[in-house]
């Protein structure tokens, strides 16, 4: 695809010194470690693979049912099942060695120490380009309240992680807060190199015939197209609150949604639940973005970031 000047538009973006070939990433937990989708998607085309949340030790996750469909979206209560950082490094990171895409490792934990253990183990690994810290995990010490719902604890965890992290740190914000701007500022003050949002919105589904909860966990995180307008609004607010780059996600189902997110202020975007509806969605979003730039005679995608004030 070429524009008036005969050149292909430049899709690359830079976050904290890391250059991505395009702004399209995968939403953590919706793409495994890339391995599961490698037969469906050319991973080399992606801006980055963001891996499933990994903790210091294996986590078994929640009882089933863990997923439910809702109108235009889905609920999940996977409970962050993962094999722990050691298996992750040996198997999943090793698999990603062969691909020409950036790797962002999503990290979860139940105490600050848990997070630091993972971050320290990843510190020497060249294959890890960035870290994304999921602060929606239950903080066991503070009574299962997520780290990310209180500005002080978000500031504290960000600061502690930054002290030990070798790679740039993205703090992934939860939308289940009163003021997303306040949380974005707390992450920035703690030293975050970037923020990503939104994680899932807490929801619930009841089976009216059986008169019971559909998810074993009762509540689950809502994602998919249903949450997109909420995500755009929050990305816009966060991008106006901080100076660090914002990675936007939440219900991206097409290149239009991705462009919208960037116009609202995102430097990059991630596609989550829609991978389940169409495993090739990320490639389609990239193609559509390129086409959009050509049609509008725009040379670089960077010039649309936050263009709608």
């Amino acid at each position: 695809m070429k524009n008036d000047t005969g050149r292909r538009p430049d899709l690359s973006v830079v976050i904290a010194g890391v250059e991505f070939k395009n702004p399209v990433m995968t939403g953590s937990g919706t793409f495994g470690s890339g391995m599961e989708y490698a037969e469906f998607v050319d991973l080399n085309r992606l801006g980055a693979v963001v891996t499933k949340g990994v903790s210091n030790v294996p986590w078994p996750g929640n009882p089933t049912p863990r997923v439910a469909e809702v109108y235009g979206g889905m609920l999940n209560a996977i409970g962050l099942q993962n094999p722990g950082v050691d298996v992750f490094i040996e198997r999943d990171l090793a698999f990603l060695e062969d691909y020409d895409t950036k790797v962002i490792v999503n990290v979860c934990g139940k105490s600050i120490r848990d997070y630091l253990d993972v971050v320290e183990k990843l510190a020497d690994l060249k294959r890890v380009d960035m870290l994304e810290i999921n602060v929606s995990c239950p903080n066991v010490k503070e009574g299962a309240i997520a780290f990310g719902v209180n500005a002080d604890s978000l500031f504290e965890i960000t600061q502690k992680i930054k002290r030990v992290a070798a790679q740039p740190v993205i703090m992934k914000l939860t939308p289940n807060v009163t003021s997303i701007s306040e949380m974005a500022k707390a992450a920035e003050a703690g030293g975050a190199d970037a923020i990503s949002l939104i994680n899932t919105l807490t929801g619930m589904k009841i089976d009216v015939e059986r008169q019971s909860f559909v998810l074993a966990n009762k509540t689950g995180g809502l994602s998919g197209p249903a949450i997109h307008p909420v995500a755009v609004r929050m990305v816009y607010e966060a991008a106006h609150a901080v100076g660090i780059p914002v990675i936007g996600m939440g219900g991206i189902a097409s290149w239009e949604d991705a462009v919208e997110m960037m116009l609202a202020g995102a430097t990059a975007v991630a596609v989550g639940a829609m991978n389940f509806a169409d495993p090739r969605i990320t490639e389609k979003v990239i193609d559509g973005m390129e086409d959009y730039l050509v049609r509008h005679g725009i040379d670089s995608i960077r010039s649309i970031i936050g263009a709608v004030k």
Partner: protein, 272 residues
């Protein structure tokens, strides 16, 4: 990257009601896009045309005709998605993900005395298995024990073409009055023995639990086809797990993915 997998657009060839709320659908793959290998016990994810329904519906393979590229699915209307499917007519299009999961290994079952235990909508994948076993180089001796709610039976005649067939109905309107396990105990156990080399079962969870207990009692190995709510169908979301006796190969936390490690498991490997 020539042989990338993708969603495939298929065309409805046939979609007929074969019992109350149960439909028999044939989907044809376009030329050059047909799956190269299809095993009984595997499944596909069928996407709805109404995009507000995001997730693929997992439906087992009841039959596969490689010449015509025809996939046969038999499904029960259980909610919004299967209702949309049931309203389709020939010529309509559906996108399909798959072939997914691990099915039965015909070589392992060939030549054996096989008991198929099916409950309700668990029967269709077992029909695919019965037909594959009948066509194996060394055919198996297949007995199908099938449980239905009432005399509104489906697929029975097709099972009878290849297999000895025992029918149970919950309300006693046809065959044995009771569930399929009681029918097996009453009609197939001889002199304290269950005269089979292997059991393959598909059906509701209580039935699968009973099959597991039966298999243990008579020391007959059993394979169970499990179901769980799925999102991705390809092993990425970890939505569809079942507790396993040993460490699972993915997360090492005794939670295997039904869509990837399953849906067919050895009975002793899963804690249901």
């Amino acid at each position: 990257m020539a042989d990338m997998k993708t969603k495939t657009g298929t065309t409805v060839i046939k979609n007929t009601k074969i019992a109350d709320g149960v439909f028999d659908m044939t989907l044809r793959y376009p030329e050059g896009k047909a799956p190269s290998e299809v095993k009984p016990g595997q499944f596909v994810g069928v996407f709805m045309n109404d995009a507000s329904k995001l997730l693929p519906r997992p439906i087992s393979i009841c039959g596969w005709d490689p010449e015509k590229r025809d996939l046969r699915l038999v499904y029960r209307v259980a909610g919004k998605g299967t209702k949309e499917l049931s309203e389709a007519s020939s010529g309509d299009a559906f996108e399909v993900l798959g072939i997914l999961g691990n099915g039965y290994d015909i070589r392992v079952l060939a030549g054996k005395r096989v008991l198929l235990a099916g409950g309700g909508i668990g029967a269709p994948p077992l029909l695919g298995l019965a037909n594959a076993l009948a066509g194996a180089p060394v055919p198996a001796q297949v007995t199908a024990a099938l449980g239905y709610r009432t005399a509104d039976l489906f697929l029975k005649d097709e099972f009878e073409k290849t297999s000895r067939t025992v029918i149970a109905t919950d309300d006693g309107t046809y065959g044995f009055h009771g569930n399929v396990i009681d029918a097996v105990r009453n009609e197939l156990v001889r002199e304290g023995e269950l005269p089979f080399d292997v059991i393959c079962a598909c059906g509701p969870l209580p039935m699968l639990r009973a099959v597991k207990a039966l298999a243990k009692e008579f020391s007959v190995p059993a394979y169970l086809s499990l179901e769980e709510r799925m999102a991705c169908g390809v092993g990425a979301c970890l939505g569809c797990v079942v507790k396993t006796a040993g460490e699972d190969p993915h997360s090492h936390v005794h939670n295997a993915r039904i869509c990837t490690e399953g849906p067919v498991f050895k009975a002793e490997d899963v804690e249901i």
